[in-house]
């Protein structure tokens, strides 16, 4: 049997200069349920989809508060996220203690990024298996960062991580202009939930049980809305299920439903299919590359 020899640890480069263990860690994020984040001029919103292991089990927490001005949403290995968020909390506390000022978002993000980088350059430890969206409001305004196990951090206007997050990113890209313009926190949350809704798989809906929302911004401390509290935001959505699935409902029950909605849903369905196709491409690419290595090994 052929084997990719270059993916056993994070201290071995493949002949093409890739680090497979780190790339696999990025895959772990996609196993987790989705989280989205977006910013306006004054606020940052995080929205996440919670999962429960079984019917009677509780839902895994997806948004963690770091300080009054900062919080994170996670996708991937939750225990790893707890390690990182505990570290961030320590950083935030010592910033307050030593400098008497809240920790800046960029400093916070870089501190965990450097921590994650160490795990990709030394033998014996594994890269973190979690992606984070870090939302913060500091003296330089509202910021949203995406953290990856590779140690990369980038600042975004809107980001989505986790399962089927590409659909969420597509929504954010399409509505970027209105998101950046808006002064209303409510509108920002609705956009966040719409993006999250697009990542839903069939037969799942956003409910007050599986949805988590948080807001931080000018004159408002970091606040998480869970359970009953999140219902007020769900009530503001036109629908709590994915547009792709609704297209099916329309055909079955209500053919006279106004033409526009149907058209809209079809286009989204198409977009979704192309996305899936492109995802498949990516998947192929990922498996292809090691195959190349393997083929050359044979020679």
């Amino acid at each position: 049997m052929f084997r990719n020899n270059y993916d056993n640890d994070s201290v071995t480069y493949s002949p093409t200069g890739r680090l497979f263990q780190v790339e696999y860690a990025l895959e772990a994020i996609k196993q987790g349920s989705a989280a989205v984040g977006l910013v306006s001029k004054s606020h940052v919103v995080l929205a996440a989809l919670k999962r429960n292991a079984e019917e009677l089990g509780s839902y895994q927490k997806k948004i963690i508060k770091i300080d009054d001005h900062m919080g994170v949403a996670l996708a991937g290995l939750a225990p790893d996220a707890r390690v990182l968020s505990n570290f961030l909390r320590k950083q935030a506390m010592s910033s307050k203690m030593i400098y008497n000022r809240p920790l800046s978002t960029s400093k916070a993000v870089l501190s965990i990024a450097d921590k994650a980088q160490e795990n990709t350059q030394s033998y014996g430890s594994r890269p973190y298996g979690v992606g984070l969206l870090i939302a913060g409001y500091d003296e330089t305004g509202a910021h949203l960062y995406e953290f990856q196990p590779s140690g990369s951090v980038l600042e975004y206007y809107g980001a989505a991580i986790g399962a089927r997050s590409q659909a969420g990113r597509t929504y954010l890209e399409r509505n970027l202009d209105t998101i950046l313009e808006t002064d209303s926190v409510e509108e920002l949350i609705v956009h966040g939930l719409n993006a999250l809704r697009d990542t839903l798989s069939q037969d799942v809906e956003l409910t007050f049980k599986n949805t988590s929302v948080s807001v931080v911004g000018k004159d408002s401390d970091f606040k998480i809305y869970d359970d009953e509290e999140v219902q007020q935001w769900l009530d503001k959505l036109d629908s709590v299920s994915n547009a792709r699935n609704r297209a099916g409902d329309d055909d079955a029950d209500d053919n006279n439903e106004n033409q526009e909605t149907t058209e809209e849903t079809t286009t989204t369905t198409e977009a979704a299919t192309t996305e899936e196709a492109s995802n498949d491409d990516n998947a192929n690419e990922a498996t292809d590359a090691p195959a190349e290595d393997r083929m050359e090994t044979d020679e």
Partner: protein, 259 residues
């Protein structure tokens, strides 16, 4: 690739029978696909520039800076694995601060590069670590004037007058070879740098890029490493694009003549 399947490329710090360390060579491969970085040593200072490929329109423009400062008078830009680059810069900052607290004087650029060269080299010696996946271009001004260095994953560290790394390095190098380093000033080099990055981007034209330029000069920045002012950056980029259009027109003219 002859290296594959021999077993000598699976671990860092292992020599192959013909004396190569393959993991270091593979680390260079990681660099060769990164955005192009260049450095120019001028008569009166240093100019650093980098091409940042924009992978998503959701990224905040003007943030996610790639050029960093090691000490007040030393700047660095790198291509390759960006988190490794930050590790490198953090180490550089530590070295610079340690030196300053010990000797009460800012570290000289050659001495800093010596120390960083040793640090990077160390990451090729053990199988418990991997070499750095970056090539860094470091520039600075000290008592002996401007200095420009480039440091590779092997720890090799050379002085340059014009340095380029990343995907478009070949194009950039051949452009850099045309410059007159005896007379060029930082102000002129800023525009040239923008043009070179623009040309190096040709190979990767399907994606947009953002330009980042910094400089160090006694006259312009009092010997400090700073990003160039916004208006100068806009001017430089406009210049680069216009030059490009002119070239294209010329090419078109040539083609017409030929036909």
């Amino acid at each position: 690739m002859t290296s594959i399947g021999t077993g000598y490329d699976l671990s860092n710090s292992v020599f192959s029978p013909d004396g190569r360390n393959f993991q270091v060579e593979y680390a260079m491969k990681a660099v060769e696909n990164g955005g192009t970085s260049i450095g120019i040593k001028c008569k009166d200072g240093i100019v650093l520039a980098v091409e940042k490929i924009i992978n998503s329109k959701l990224l905040v423009p003007g943030k996610n800076k790639r050029i960093q400062t090691i000490d007040k008078h030393i700047g660095v830009v790198y291509s390759g694995l960006l988190p490794d680059g930050r590790h490198f810069v953090n180490r550089g900052r530590d070295e610079a601060q340690t030196f300053k607290s010990f000797y009460k004087t800012p570290i000289s650029v050659p001495h800093l590069m010596d120390r960083l060269g040793i640090y990077v080299q160390n990451y090729t010696c053990y199988n418990s670590v991997r070499p750095f996946g970056v090539v860094s271009i470091v520039g600075g001004i000290d008592d002996d004037g401007p200095h420009l260095y480039m440091i590779e994953p092997s720890g090799a560290c050379w002085g340059y007058t014009g340095a380029a790394t990343g995907k478009g390095r070949q194009t950039a190098k051949s452009e850099l070879e045309k410059l007159d380093y005896e007379t060029i000033t930082v102000k002129e080099a800023v525009k040239t740098a923008a043009k070179i990055i623009h040309q190096a981007h040709e190979d990767n034209k399907d994606k947009d890029y953002e330009l980042e330029i910094s400089w160090i000069s006694l006259e312009e920045t009092k010997g400090r490493h700073e990003f160039i002012p916004e208006d100068l950056l806009a001017e430089a980029r406009k210049f680069a694009e216009e030059e490009d259009e002119e070239d294209e027109e010329e090419e078109e003219d040539d083609e017409e003549m030929e036909s």
